[in-house]
Symmetry: C2
Subunit: 262 residues, 2 copies
Amino acid sequence: MSLAKPLILITNDDGINAPGIRKLIEIMRPLGRLVVVAPDKSQSGMGHAITVTSPLRVSKLTEDIDYLEYSCNGTPVDCVKLGMRVIMRQKPDLLVSGINHGSNASVNVLYSGTMAAVLEGAIESVPSIGFSLNDYSPKANFEGFEEYIKEIASEALRNGLPSGTCLNVNIPALNGTPVKGIKVVRQGAGFWEEAYEERIDPFNRHYYWITGVFKNNDNGRDTDLWALKNNYIAVVPTQIDLTSFETIHLLQNWKLNRKGKK
Amino acid sequence: MSLAKPLILITNDDGINAPGIRKLIEIMRPLGRLVVVAPDKSQSGMGHAITVTSPLRVSKLTEDIDYLEYSCNGTPVDCVKLGMRVIMRQKPDLLVSGINHGSNASVNVLYSGTMAAVLEGAIESVPSIGFSLNDYSPKANFEGFEEYIKEIASEALRNGLPSGTCLNVNIPALNGTPVKGIKVVRQGAGFWEEAYEERIDPFNRHYYWITGVFKNNDNGRDTDLWALKNNYIAVVPTQIDLTSFETIHLLQNWKLNRKGKK
């Protein structure tokens, strides 16, 4: 069956009706047989959450030639697991997630449901790519970078990815200017400086809304943050092994196992 | 104020009343001034989720000498952010999370709310440690390793940790046998092989419960999985930079930027 079109699993965290996933489906359509399994509502900010305490439901929405579309009441990671274990009963040749409404560059990879789905693919040794647009606006423009997404996805299908790795692809907000190209870069250092807005409810109880601004902590010109700022598409090869091997060596100097020594 | 006791932030994902966090509080009490901010209910499986679409509430439960305890209706990451930005209005000298009911070794670090809180500490350059017991049972025995936890926490206070890194500490289920000691190891490779149990509700609709078994994919004797299996406490230095630098080099061979070239 080497002539069969590749099998591609598509998900996101903004929900099945988000403009980002509709665009991604459109772009991926010529590349293979598509199975879309996406949350039935926005799951933004869900990180690598999985649903363990409530039942999961799946609804088939569309069945067409080389195209199946399902919604699920779970998180993006639930969608990937259900997609592989229940719906397809096999691993896809490629998993793509997005296009996320908002950047997943820098530490945002850790908060992102879009990238959690992609890391889940990497755990399963499936070549997996997350696509995110650096524009949080509901009116974000998803035009002008289609060929780049197709190029990255085609190369991932052709070359595969090393076990335990995946790609975090972030696309600059274009607003009419053309993309300059693709940069393969590292995850930049940054953090969210939250300001919690405190309010008082009608029952005189305090509550808080989270707001915040992202702070770039990294002057490097080899980061995803730099690439985005300079109108390049940022591709960060991302791994599921979080071990800091440098720190393993450092810990040899710690006084551990004192109590353990008999 | 160098004579001041260190300020320690404590959280978890099993909720403020879980035996694991009560034990951790007891162990940490002699080490400093404690501020506990933990979820008001179990947030297990929430990964690095943050609460963006609903208001957050915080309740002070206990105020004592060198001891403050709050519950919060958010996730572990919300607890860390609120703890630092709203409650303490400063960074602690140490953040500890746990003791989790269940292992966070291997890829479980990616699903874990306990470790998400710890990674959040690392993003904020706070020395941060997650403690987990490899026993999911509600009757898990949290006795017999207190001195090891104290030792690891004391060394983290004394030495600090490199920026962007934290510790993922997993403790073997003891059942009466003594811990052999502490091993500093790497994150082992593994995955969850899910079996979704399909049921039909009274309205003839299908639904699924997630179940599964963890599969160890790694024969190494330098992993957290090996250490736990051999009755050692596993300490994995863990980092927030997920970049796969090896794969950056590999991607030089991909045919990218073809469309971008004018």
